[in-house]
């Protein structure tokens, strides 16, 4: 149950940050593919760098263990990514 409540709160902050970065808007998403508005990349990469350094520092201190890392299967990942881009540019997800 506590697990569900933390998930709800985490999801809340997740959605909040997405909304404030403007990623809930069609034009933000599609303009990153037109190189006219790089907000999506700036947002994603900032999140990556912050989370990455935080997680690896915490693991170094022995405070956390990593959950299962998403599996690598080269063809599937790339084909999935290629298809995903089509949907992303169409929908504005």
């Amino acid at each position: 149950m506590t697990n569900f409540i933390t998930a709800l709160v985490l999801g809340g902050f997740f959605g909040f940050s997405l909304n404030k970065a403007g990623l809930t808007k069609y034009n933000k998403i599609v303009n990153v593919f037109r190189f006219t508005d790089m907000a999506v990349l700036q947002f994603m990469m900032t999140a990556l760098v912050v989370a990455m350094s935080g997680l690896f520092a915490l693991r170094g201190l022995g405070l956390i263990t990593f959950p299962a890392v998403p599996a690598t299967y080269v063809v599937g990942n790339i084909v999935g990514g290629l298809l995903f881009g089509v949907g992303m540019a169409l929908t504005g997800f």
């Binding site: 902050f13 404030k20 970065a21 935080g54 915490l58 956390i64 599996a71 949907g87």
Partner: protein, 181 residues
């Protein structure tokens, strides 16, 4: 304090500030609940739940038995949180369009490219979403579940996925926008 409150009310934050917030949430997800943020998996869990109730034999396969077990998972709850979080975000900046006339189709850039009809917006969003979800199933995650959550654990899959996503996204945008690119 006042500065912070005013900043929360702004409609669009600097993507760097919002990115730091998401990064902290990503760390918290691993630290507190030992899980990763993700969106696409939850839809598959829900689809599996509905599918097993409606057509048990059709959904009795490898994928739904082992890779994406159906049920109300943490991911589903997370998605509910994302919905309300986004809504709170819009409410704080005063752009919440709940029940307003142009709520479903207010994007001027979309109207300029595809036309003003709302049904077009719905149809394209529906088709695009099917492509998105199917592709996320193949790759093993979406932008949040694989690219961000996988990337912060330095999973090679995430960076392959990001490369593929941007390559085809740029091509698709080129095709859609043609002269206006």
């Amino acid at each position: 304090m006042k500065f912070i409150l005013n900043y929360i009310r702004k409609e669009t934050w600097s993507p760097y500030v919002a990115g730091v917030l998401l990064g902290v949430v990503g760390i918290a997800a691993v630290w507190i609940s030992d899980s990763l943020l993700g969106a696409s998996g939850a839809f598959e869990n829900l689809a599996g739940l509905i599918g097993q109730a409606a057509a048990p034999t059709l959904f009795d396969n490898m994928y739904f038995n082992f890779i994406m077990p159906p049920g109300i998972t943490v991911g589903v709850i997370l998605l509910v949180g994302v919905f309300f979080g986004g809504m709170i975000g819009a409410a704080t900046s005063g752009t919440l369009k709940w029940g307003k006339k142009d709520a479903v189709n207010s994007d001027t850039q979309w109207k300029r490219i595809f036309g003003a009809q709302t049904w077009k917006r719905w149809l394209l969003a529906f088709i695009g979403a099917i492509i998105l979800e199917y592709a996320a199933g193949i790759a093993g995650g979406c932008t949040s579940g694989l690219a961000i959550s996988g990337g912060m654990l330095l999973a090679p899959a995430a960076f392959l996925f990001i490369a593929g996503m941007f390559a085809s996204g740029i091509v698709t945008a080129l095709v859609i926008y043609r002269k206006n690119y």
